[in-house]
Symmetry: D2
Subunit: 326 residues, 4 copies
């Protein structure tokens, strides 16, 4: 079996809160403890950092040292555009030009930090860029602002790839980067080679998308830059352990990723509110590894034949063989 590049988001190992329990379900560990926890997850070779939470212009050296201790690579930085009051009514599309400017500045700073850490990927999630009420979205202005901001970030350093993460809702009732194809259009509209898209598997399911189909479409335009993994019940971004609800659709996704020779990261992105973070993330990786083994054992070629044929009862029998045959 070919080795996949699994990675984790550092913050997932710390405290997690919701809107009712805003101080969180757990205690917030120190940065050092967070890195120690990350180090303990052997299967993950990469770490995704969140701006401000994990990394700032001030602490790059400290973080670099901590990364070296863990023996893991920082493979992506997620600029913090969703957890400060300043972005509350929008970051790149704020009606306040100063805030828009600050959002671009923070992203550029994080690009610089990435470079210093030897990382060439930004996962850009402008979660607060959207609207809540009908008649509130100023699509015209907002789309231009978003496009220009992304271009400016992309041009700042052409060697750093920017992966736009989409999500239909939360924290806004409607987010501007909502679904895979909207976001692909935005990426194409930037006319920048270094702008692409991240699929968060849970966001795609909430959007009603088949994840593998979304991946195929992005890849067909050369724009599948990154993947975030989690599971949910399809109505909301529950950010659960991968494979706690769904299996067949992950098999489908992993198969298509092989077929399109995806060489990027498989990053775990969860919210283990009430679970031990290390265990919850590790379970996801274990499940993904188990699903890869299933594909190996059943055979990529045979899966390709199933897809070519498209016969639902044969597919079901095959899935039963994959999961249950001893």
């Amino acid at each position: 079996m070919k080795k996949r590049n699994y990675s984790i988001i550092l913050g997932n190992l710390g405290n997690t809160c919701d809107r009712f329990l805003s101080t969180g379900y757990k205690d917030q560990p120190s940065k050092e403890e967070l890195f120690r926890r990350a180090a303990s997850i052997d299967d993950a070779s990469g770490i995704e950092l969140v701006g401000s939470w994990d990394i700032t212009t001030e602490n790059v050296k400290q973080v670099k040292a901590l990364l070296e201790e863990t023996g893991k690579k920082c493979m992506s930085i997620i600029p913090e555009l969703f957890s400060s009051k300043i972005w509350g009514k929008g970051a790149f599309t704020s009606r306040d030009p100063d805030i828009r400017k600050k959002a671009v500045e923070h992203t550029k700073e994080m690009i610089d930090a990435a470079v210093e850490l030897g990382c060439d990927l930004m996962n850009l999630w402008p979660g607060e860029d959207g609207y809540d009420y009908p008649l509130q979205g100023n699509f015209d202005e907002a789309y231009s602002q978003l496009l220009e901001a992304i271009r400016e970030c992309a041009d700042y350093n052409r060697n750093v790839r920017i992966a736009l993460e989409f999500k239909p809702k939360e924290p806004r009732n409607y987010c501007y980067l909502a679904r895979s194809a909207d976001t692909l259009l935005m990426a194409l509209d930037t006319e920048r080679e270094n702008v692409g898209v991240t699929i968060d598997t849970g966001h795609a399911m909430v959007a009603g998308e088949n994840i593998a189909e979304a991946a195929f479409r992005l890849n067909s335009k050369g724009k599948l830059f990154h993947l975030h993994f989690n599971d949910n019940y399809r109505s909301w971004d529950d950010d659960m352990i991968v494979g706690s609800i769904h299996h067949v659709e992950y098999i489908e996704l992993l198969y298509w990723l092989r077929k399109m020779d995806y060489r990027g990261w498989y990053s775990m992105d969860q919210y283990p509110y009430r679970e031990d973070g290390v265990k919850a993330i590790s379970e996801s990786i274990e499940n993904l590894k188990a699903l890869e083994t299933v594909i190996d054992r059943y055979g990529e070629g045979r899966i390709g034949d199933l897809i070519k044929e498209g016969n639902a009862t044969e597919i079901t029998a095959a899935v039963r063989e994959m999961l249950f045959k001893r």
Copy 2:
């Protein structure tokens, strides 16, 4: 492993149509052919018949003979209250008293037919009893009419159990028997021992219910009378092959059914629009059998311990063992 009583709905083996392709995706076979197909599914010992479609006051003897040839038992009749123009605006709750009367009459006729076939279970799905638009539902009248109609049917023959099947929507935008607890309340309100509830697994998922929890609640009042099995993507009653999307929740359901010593039928209820009916139904039974084997192998006691503990990461590891360990 204890043997389960699997059954099938005869009509699932015939033609299936949708609102766009109203003549159906397949050809309609003869009644004889339908029974031959049913006979070919070895694992199913029971057959569910739909009133008017399969069985009428006129053809009971013919059907009895066909059943004898198949070697299968008619274990339930579903009165036809959803596929004739007359019920279009409601059956038991029609604003036309003649139609209400006819709905009760048809149900009574089907009860008589059931008795003649040695069957003691009616699966009552008043799908057209509901409303579509706000300000259209006359809850007051409708609830009384529904209650009285069910009572009258229940009293007609106390030896025949009536299982009320719930569904949140389709064919009405809002159905009166919408969810498990609504329907349990209706069943309790009848104050009739022979009135209970059917869970259709797909309907429960569309209602946002955890199927096992719904089963538990019904059983705790002695009202889990019947089960219909199918799978879907949770937003609509897709009536797919069991286990084509979900596995863990079926394991949970099957475990709780064991724990509550459910002795009723496991009836397949699908709409294999584009699939071979016999194969699609057989696949569901095969999957349910495979899931029972998984429970046997892992151990009911150990599953009970998982539930008692309620630790999500341990549950995930256990599910991985159940599905993937070789």
Copy 3:
């Protein structure tokens, strides 16, 4: 027009946070400021307080004084069972008996506080009582624990009514008090006259329920104790301004509340993340008042006729007259 008893939840006027922006979209005002804001909403004669946030065993006298200054009545207390780490894995159904005991104790303390404030209604929302993953819900134990806890609280002071608030999900992926009928069953099972149900309009919509039908069913058992008002897009508890999305269904609800002679409170329960709290709450009351005027002008009798007839095109024409005729 008959005057309705509008009320507000004090905390809605303060800071609001979500899981990403856990410090909140606004600044947290002082308790005095919160009460001043409440006092400024003339149409609201009642205030709902949340345990721990607003009221504790220690500050009852202070709160009483603040209430007197506002000239408003504390008409309900919501025990705090959803915003402290201790309840993170359940309150009344925690697997830890000490926590279960503390949840009951806190509720009793809040009942005492209510009495001291001349309030006879508790809005009990055990939001953390539920589960997240398949095979995690211990229905058997949990239902008994919930039933016993509610009974104990109800028996503690028979003069204080306990209204159980249901919600299908959030903060748990599955909450035990999930829908109106489940919760009605729980209320009936307690066999206590002083236990009933709260409908939160947004929770009912997320559950796929028609709000008026839910109200009718609860009222038919004498169990419609309380109402929380907000609006959403139906897929999630967006907690928006009433009437920002829906109008017809509120007309339907308000009509049925009149018909059943509901005399309880109309309490605003929102999360104005990015809005001025006082304005957002006031807008909801203004909209409800406007909708009552619509009913007055069109005529309750004529609405009753529409419902009796159930003709969708006549209903639509009538709604157009209600909303648009000048």
Copy 4:
């Protein structure tokens, strides 16, 4: 007020069926009667015809005569790619090359028929092109086939515009043209000026899209070719009367259509299962006209200011003024 071009789909005035009541809720009128009904809807100046149902290569002259009698224009033809057994497993993306060929042929025939009727718009809804089960979608093949088929149809007559209608699901669990941006990408990929997109308002809502935002995005690429109007509860394509559930979002849409100077058709597309077809369609047009009047009275400029400002409580107050002020 500027006059809008309202149109109707002829078949909506006839019989309507669902998967349970496949013979339909009403009787099927003659073609002549259908046209007489259409003629009676004064506000509609256009008629949309469905291939095979309404128009064939054989009956073009007869249809032309009937249209002339009604005094209405055929402004669009919808090729029949969703209601014959032959398309059951896909039309343009069938795994059978003969069927793919036939789908293109039928579309070309309908283009010829359109030209003969003086119509320059095809509404292309390849509803059966999609898949139902995981591992069934052959994205690679299907996307190429769809692209090539649409190109071939577009090239057949460059003077006829082809508007691709998207829908997330039904009749397939996943349709290939699922959402506005996916379909815009497909339209752009054809590199044909005469290929654009239809928004069906109900389909957009089921897809979780804000309709006005979808319209804006399509228009920004010059690809908003056509509009189908209906209403629903957001979870399914209920095809209800426009304005029976939602009002504010239609105001938003109508405002943006004005702002982008949309000059196409406003076509009613409903499934009045249990309603009088003429009345149900007329009600939708009446509601759209009433909403236009609301915009006129309140003022486009003031609505523009609301959007520019984006203040939710001011928007709510404005909407209340629009709907309720006398």
